[in-house]
């Protein structure tokens, strides 16, 4: 039960990360390799505030979200001046910079040793396992986030975002500022990732600079591509699938070191297979895919 609850929590967290990345990748048409940046910022800001201040839980979470969204927004301003692959490289560069920064800012972050003993103000019932209590919070939060994103992409804002993806030059010729719309999308995606990071830090009670890592960003991107960019729903499927599939490998009885390598290989193989045979992902929006090429 505890184990299933743990997996469920991870699926919720990654569903939030993947669906918010889909807003950037699928709808805004900006291939980002730095989604771990707002996630890590949310996690670190929450952890530090919980460890070093007496602020109440909700205040901490909101501050965590704002820090993440703010940093993501600031990253977007120069990155959006670049187009295509250069934008992707910039996002990767910024995420790595944040990781290295966290790793070396030892007085504040304890560097590679990470931050242990993060309080869990969410777990208020002593009789119930914290995992289940976190599940009870994460599940409705994820549903709200996904429904909210779905509403956003169907709104005038969401359509404008897709227009900027399809032809930014044409949109600006018609008097709209595509970059401003894209920056707004990045801010929203950043706040959702920050929320996921805030919940994650409290759940695991320990975080280290690898939350900013490239593997984290690639995993989330794999979820989006697998589910189908430009769908929101697809990302949830992608998150569920990529969390559960490697877990199922546990049962075949391979030694642990081999298992880790096998997982990474599996992500790679899946990505190649999908790119070759089903580039739109399981659900797939052909327009979102076209703009990513």
């Amino acid at each position: 039960m505890e184990y299933a609850g743990h997996l469920f929590f991870l699926i919720c967290i990654y569903a939030m990360l993947a669906s918010s990345l889909d807003l950037v990748v699928g709808y805004a048409g900006l291939l980002s390799l730095g989604h771990a940046a707002p996630f890590g910022m949310g996690a670190y800001a929450t952890a530090l505030l919980l460890l070093r201040t007496d602020l109440p839980f909700w205040t901490v979470t909101v501050l965590g979200i704002l820090v993440a969204a703010g940093v993501h927004f600031l990253i977007a301003i120069p990155s959006l001046k670049l187009k295509g692959d250069f934008f992707t490289l910039a996002t990767l560069g910024f995420a790595e910079t944040l990781r290295i920064f966290t790793q070396n800012l030892t007085p504040l972050t304890r560097g590679p040793m990470g931050l242990p003993g993060i309080p869990q103000p969410l777990a208020i019932l002593p009789a119930v396992s914290p995992t289940l209590q976190f599940d009870a919070v994460a599940c409705p939060v994820t549903v709200c986030v996904v429904v909210g994103l779905r509403i956003a992409v169907r709104s005038r804002f969401g359509k404008m975002l897709q227009a900027a993806r399809d032809d930014a030059e044409w949109l600006s010729s018609l008097g709209k500022n595509p970059e401003r719309i894209q920056r707004a999308a990045v801010f929203i995606a950043g706040s959702v990732a920050g929320l996921a990071g805030a919940l994650y830090a409290q759940y695991t009670t320990f975080i280290e600079p690898s939350v900013f890592g490239l593997t984290e960003s690639i995993l989330v991107l794999c979820m989006v591509i697998l589910g189908g960019p430009g769908t929101v729903w697809g990302s949830i499927f992608g998150a569920g699938f990529l969390i559960l599939l490697p877990e199922s490998l546990r049962w075949i009885g391979l030694p642990a070191p081999l298992l880790g390598a096998l997982r990474q290989m599996l992500y790679g193989i899946l990505l190649v297979v999908f790119m070759l045979f089903r580039p739109r992902g399981v659900w797939g929006n052909p327009w979102a895919w076209r703009s990513m090429r």
Binding site: R156, K159, M160, Q162, A163, R165, D166, D167, E169, W170, L171, S172, S173, L174, G175, K176, N177, G230, N285, P286, W287, A288, R290, S291
Partner: protein, 261 residues
């Protein structure tokens, strides 16, 4: 921001003065002058590669001229970006259809209308009414909302081109720049388009048109500029300009080149 006022006493609403543009040593425009008269159709003619499209890019802020000035309603707007030019009352179309392929036909237009404060249900109704009227105006027939729900990217070339024009009209410009609007359009729809352009000028819109067909310029335009090798070759009333031997030479040479190829 001020919207381009219709020029008083025949004053040009859009004026390009000695505009030059070079691309890596290639001279695309060399001190070109064009004036767009209020509520009139001004045409630009010239062989392929003469610099007509670059001229449009310079007029709408897509490229910044190396030299020369661009005036809208008497105001110097040289170097402004396309977004600002649009706010000054300029709209344009491109030679190739430019649309938002992943959005429905309805959404391609509805995102461009100014949002008004009505209830959700009314807004939807009003949006559809406005969209339908605009689509009909450019000659695209979408009888109901469901039909207009088709993705714009699945339309044919000609339909996309007309949708592109409808989008340019949706932002309610005062000056409309059309880059070969008749190319790739069905003859029946082309005739319809001709009368639409006349209607628009009657409503006070000023139009700058890039067109290859001499016949169509003679029928439609009040004034024509012939551009050749990035320079002004001739300008004036179409009838006079096309009887100019220099102009005839350019157009005939083009035809000769084509037959010898």
């Amino acid at each position: 921001m001020t919207v381009a006022a219709p020029g008083k006493n025949g004053e040009a609403v859009l004026r390009l003065e000695d505009v030059s543009k070079h691309f890596d040593g290639l001279r695309a425009l060399d001190r070109v002058r064009v004036s767009v008269l209020p509520a009139r159709i001004t045409a630009i003619a010239g062989p392929n590669g003469a610099g007509k499209s670059t001229l449009f890019h310079a007029a709408t802020g897509l490229v910044v001229p190396d030299e020369g000035r661009v005036y809208v309603g008497g105001k110097d707007v040289t170097g402004s970006n396309p977004e600002k030019m649009s706010k000054m009352g300029l709209a344009r179309t491109f030679q190739d259809p430019r649309i938002f392929g992943g959005l429905s036909v309805l959404d391609n237009l509805s995102i461009l209308f100014k949002p008004d404060r009505t209830s959700w249900r009314d807004r939807r109704k009003i949006l559809w009414k406005k969209t339908k009227a605009l689509l009909e105006r450019v000659g695209l027939l979408f009888t109901d909302e469901a039909m207009a729900g088709t993705k714009a990217g699945t339309l044919s070339f000609g339909q996309q081109k007309l949708l592109s024009l409808a989008q340019a009209l949706a932002v309610e410009p005062r000056i409309l720049l059309l880059d070969e609007p008749f190319a790739g359009i069905h003859p029946v729809q082309a005739d319809r388009l001709e009368s639409l352009l006349r209607e628009l000028t009657e409503e006070g819109m000023s139009i700058l048109l890039i067109e290859h067909s001499v016949q169509r310029i003679l029928e439609l335009a009040h004034r024509v500029y012939v551009v050749h090798d990035g320079r002004n070759l001739a300008e004036g009333v179409p009838k006079d300009v096309f009887s100019d031997p220099d102009v005839e030479n350019v157009f005939l040479k083009q035809r000769r080149d084509r037959t010898t190829q």
